[in-house]
Symmetry: C2
C-alpha cells in the first residue's frame, strides 16, 4: 500500500457585513507557528466525516449559527504551507447575516474577531491568499446569483440590498436602474412591514422569494 503522510484540514473564510464594510472572521493563534498572529478558523477533517461536514462543524464552533451559506472554494496544497507538517487544506467561504453572527463570535474575547477586509492584520500560513481567493469568488457569485440574501437579515430594505452590492462589488449603482433590475428578476417580494425607529421616511421591508441559490444576472 502507498505510503503518504498528508494531513487534511478545512479553512473557513467567514464573511459578514458590519457598518457598511465587508468583514472576515479571524482568530488569534496562541501557539507557534505564527503565535499571536491572526489566522482564519481551520481544523482537521475527522476520519468519518466529509469536508462539508467538517467545515460546518468548525463554523458552528466559532459562530454558533446554523443555516448559513457555505461553499467549497479551492484546495491549497503547497507542501510548505505549514512549517510543521504536510497539510493540505480545503478552503470554504461562509456568508452570515449580521443579525445571526452577533450571537457567539462577539461574546468571545479578542481571540475571535471580525476584521474589515480593507485592513487585514498580518496572518499566518497562506491565509492571505485564501482570503483573496474567497473575495474574488464572492464578488463573482454576487454578480450572477441571489447570494446576497445570506448576508442580509431576513427582512431588509431596497437601500440595504443595494448597499450590499455596492460594498461587495465596490461600485455605485443608480437607484432607479437598480430597482428596475431587481424588480425584473422576481427574486424578492414585499412584506407589509416598514422600518421602525428611523428618523426619516421609513422604507418598505422586503424578503427573498427563494432560499435556494439561483443563477441570475444581477448586474
Amino acid at each position: 500500500m502507498i505510503k503518504q503522510k498528508i494531513l487534511v484540514t478545512v479553512d473557513n473564510v467567514i464573511f459578514t457585513l458590519i457598518q457598511d464594510q465587508l468583514h472576515v472572521l479571524l482568530i488569534k493563534r496562541d501557539i507557534d507557528p505564527f503565535k499571536n498572529q491572526r489566522s482564519i478558523p481551520w481544523w482537521f477533517v475527522l476520519d468519518n466525516e466529509d469536508c462539508d461536514t467538517a467545515a460546518y462543524r468548525e463554523l458552528e464552533e466559532k459562530t454558533n449559527v446554523k443555516n448559513v451559506y457555505l461553499e467549497q472554494l479551492y484546495t491549497f496544497s503547497d507542501p510548505r504551507r505549514d512549517p510543521r507538517w504536510r497539510v493540505i487544506t480545503v478552503a470554504y467561504m461562509a456568508l452570515v447575516a449580521r443579525e445571526n453572527i452577533f450571537i457567539k463570535a462577539w461574546s468571545y474575547t479578542s481571540e475571535v474577531k471580525f476584521f474589515p477586509i480593507a485592513s487585514l492584520p498580518k496572518m499566518g500560513f497562506d491565509h492571505k491568499k485564501v482570503i483573496e481567493y474567497a473575495i474574488q469568488r464572492l464578488k463573482w457569485k454576487m454578480e450572477y446569483t441571489n447570494l446576497s440574501q445570506f448576508i442580509l437579515p431576513a427582512k431588509f430594505t431596497l437601500s440595504e440590498l443595494q448597499k450590499v452590492y455596492e460594498i461587495i462589488l465596490n461600485k455605485k449603482f443608480d437607484v432607479r436602474n437598480f430597482r428596475k433590475k431587481i424588480d425584473s428578476l422576481h427574486i424578492i417580494k414585499e412584506t407589509w412591514e416598514k422600518e421602525i425607529w428611523v428618523q426619516y421616511r421609513p422604507a418598505k421591508l422586503y424578503k427573498f422569494v427563494d432560499k435556494k441559490v439561483k443563477i441570475i444576472e444581477i448586474i
Copy 2:
C-alpha cells in the same frame, strides 16, 4: 499531534473533441475494487509536490502532451468513496486538442481510451459524479472565457470554432450572429492560410490572439 489517516489523490477529467463529440479519457481498472470497470485517471499526491503538479504528472503519463489547460475543480471527500481506505480526491479537468492527444493515449491498448460523454460506461468510485461536475464547469466556463482554444488545433476555421460551442453547450447558433459576436470580441485573428485537401470551398484559418484565459461573454 493529531491522528488522521487520510490519503490524498488527484483525479483528472480529460476532455477532447473527437468526431463532433465531447469525449473523456477513461482507463480500465485491472485490480479490485471495481476490477474491469472504467475510471478516470487518478493517482496519489507525492509528499513534496502540490496538487497541480500531481495532476500534471498524471496527465502527462496518460497523454504525453504538455501545454495543456488544467484547472482544479472540486475536492470530493465522502468517507466511503473508496471501499478500501479513506481517500480524499482533488478533481481536475484538462482540455486537450485532438491534434495533441493522438500521440500517446491512442497508442495504448484498450486500457486507455476516450469515451463520448453521451455514452459513458459503468465506472468505479464516484467518478460519474466527478465527470458530471466537470461537464458543468466546462459548459459554464465556455460561455464566459476563451477556453475553447485549448480544445481546438492551433489553426482552425470559424465553422470549427462554432462547432465547439455547439457541441459543448448543446445548442445551435446562427452562422452570421456567431461570427459577428466572435469578431466583436477580438479574441481571434486571421492567418493567411486556408484549409487544404477539402472537397469544397476552403475556409480561412484563424488562431487565437492570446493564450491566457480571458473573461469574456461569448454567448
